[in-house]
Symmetry: C2
Subunit: 344 residues, 2 copies
């Protein structure tokens, strides 16, 4: 399907009729070209034997993406929708394999924008080694959604030698992040233009499947991994602490934060520990394996700035605290209220 720069999506593109048929067959299917998608049955089909080559457990995940604006430094809603779901699979130890793509489009969205987002999805899926094999397209009237929302669901397969769970943290474990925190939140915030910030910060949006595969190779007894999206690193640590009934103490000096992100946070009264990330993982590893794991991570392009940021100890009640640069200690609780809506 060819389109002119001024062409827009109409309600007819979601009607089930000829316009939708053309949009799907001649635009979306060509973009994501693969044999399963081209079948255009109501469901994609995958031989279980093919899945069994990767492991013994299916991993199944979904996220809807509503980020505002659609394009921001370092990424866009399309790349985010691929990387986010790939990461949700990969942090469970799964090899991500297949994704769905479901679009909710506001009437009047420019085809140029849609084309750019789908191209971005295509590139991100190619990089992450996943195929988009089924999907759905809805169009709603003007003012009934904000430009474009994307849902992706994904399946992957988990190798039986891995058993990652937020409930597996133990006293003595070390907690590692793979790089600077808060970049995504700061980049999206700056891109909104509703605060007068000029910054070069780019979103960290990236698929972490390859880094995680390396990590699990050198340390198959990693306790758990999560990507620190909405609610940031602080929220993930609180989830770990509660699920495992342990105390987690962060060492503020070791937390990698870019000076630009720190500056934005100070200006706006935000805490970088709660800022969203889209390519930053938090990993809990047994103490004996931590240094080797860290060194492996630092050799990977997506882990060059990895740091051990916290340690785990036994608890009467689960608490996350931080030893500050001044030597004092403060509680790092779940986020109260709302920091930044539509960050992902």
């Amino acid at each position: 399907m060819s389109f002119k720069p001024d062409d827009c999506v109409t309600l007819g593109h979601g009607s089930g009729g000829r316009a939708m048929h053309e949009l799907i067959h001649e635009f979306i299917v060509e973009k994501f070209a693969n044999s399963q998608l081209s079948e255009l049955e109501d469901q994609a089909r995958i031989p279980l034997a093919q899945l069994a080559e990767y492991g013994s457990q299916l991993a199944f995940s979904t996220d809807s993406y509503v980020v505002d604006p659609l394009f921001f430094p370092g990424a866009d809603i399309g790349k985010l929708a691929i990387c986010g779901t790939v990461n949700d699979l990969a942090v469970g130890g799964a090899t991500p394999l297949f994704l769905t793509c479901s679009l909710i489009i506001e009437e009047g969205l420019s085809f140029t924008v849609l084309n750019d987002v789908l191209d971005s999805m295509r590139r991100a899926a190619l990089h992450a080694g996943v195929k988009i094999i089924t999907g759905d397209t809805k169009v709603v009237g003007r003012g009934q959604c904000d430009k474009l929302f994307i849902n992706t669901a994904g399946i992957g397969v988990i190798d039986p030698s891995y058993n990652l769970s937020a409930g597996h943290c133990k006293s003595g474990d070390c907690i590692i992040v793979n790089g600077f925190i808060g970049d995504h939140g700061a980049a999206v915030l700056a891109a909104r233009g509703d605060v007068a910030i000029q910054t070069n910060v780019q979103s960290d949006c990236q698929a972490l499947h390859d880094l995680i595969a390396e990590m699990l190779k050198v340390c198959p007894d990693i306790r758990c991994i999560r990507d620190a999206t909405r609610g940031g690193v602080a929220t993930v640590l609180n989830e770990f602490s509660r699920a495992s009934s342990v105390v987690i103490e962060i060492d503020e000096r070791s937390v990698p934060i870019r000076p630009e992100v720190q500056a934005i946070c100070e200006l706006l009264g935000l805490d970088p520990l709660y800022l969203a990330n889209e390519g930053t993982l938090v990993c809990v590893a047994p103490q004996h394996a931590a240094q080797q794991l860290l060194s492996t991570m630092r050799k990977h392009p997506k882990g060059q700035h990895s740091q051990i940021i916290a340690t785990v100890s036994d608890a009467n009640e689960p608490i996350v605290s931080m030893r500050t640069v001044f030597g004092s200690s403060r509680i790092v609780d779940m986020l109260e209220g709302e920091q930044l809506p539509r960050i992902c």
Copy 2:
């Protein structure tokens, strides 16, 4: 989590912080109670061995639901979001097993509404024998979406004895529908209140997994099945005709349409063949098996009004036509433009 009748969803419920934690842990997880969901990892996990008990091929499907209004005679967006995805799996011959539930909520949505929708999803999932094992919740600001959109993705497993495809239709085949067509479209249209129609028509929204299982048992060589959602029966027949390069001729006298639906269509200039259904399937079966299949379907509560409505013949070019009640013939093409937005 308890709520008062006036409580509303706030942006904080989508922030990744405490309010979201409570919403998910104490409301959604309790509602859909099952062990996989309670894990609250970033991905649900299913042993491949458990899936292999049902067949040899994984079926994977997704749909986003944006129906307006949220509640309409016979169903609501929650029931629709379960039945729609269950049906997309079942029409491929799959046993539907697991679903995701991803909510995009407009700030200010009443908790009573959300509760009613989730209860409806719970009941529909129970009826269809599927578990909601993972999900996502986003909240967007007022005016950034219309009340509530739901995405479900689903997986099921296909028995190796079935091989259903829109491309398998052959000359001589019979085409069967399981009941009255257009009820969903008419019910939603009437519920919108923007046309002055008083009617008792209810949406046909229902999960077809059990009917389809019976059908495949008596006739494992069914060529293909689709549920006739957006674009209606006419669109499905056009998809079959193109995918198999065959002519399909509908016999208008045999198409089951309720007089009320016919009346609404005549009043508004709509064609019931293009009206959306959410519990109506179109099935292509070899001629020799058609009568036995029809009789099996009519014995099932969801197939009492089944009819053979069309036949397949060889084609130079794929065409769907209809022999009208007056004996003349007309082309039934893909829908041009848009009939009813946000019907599902």
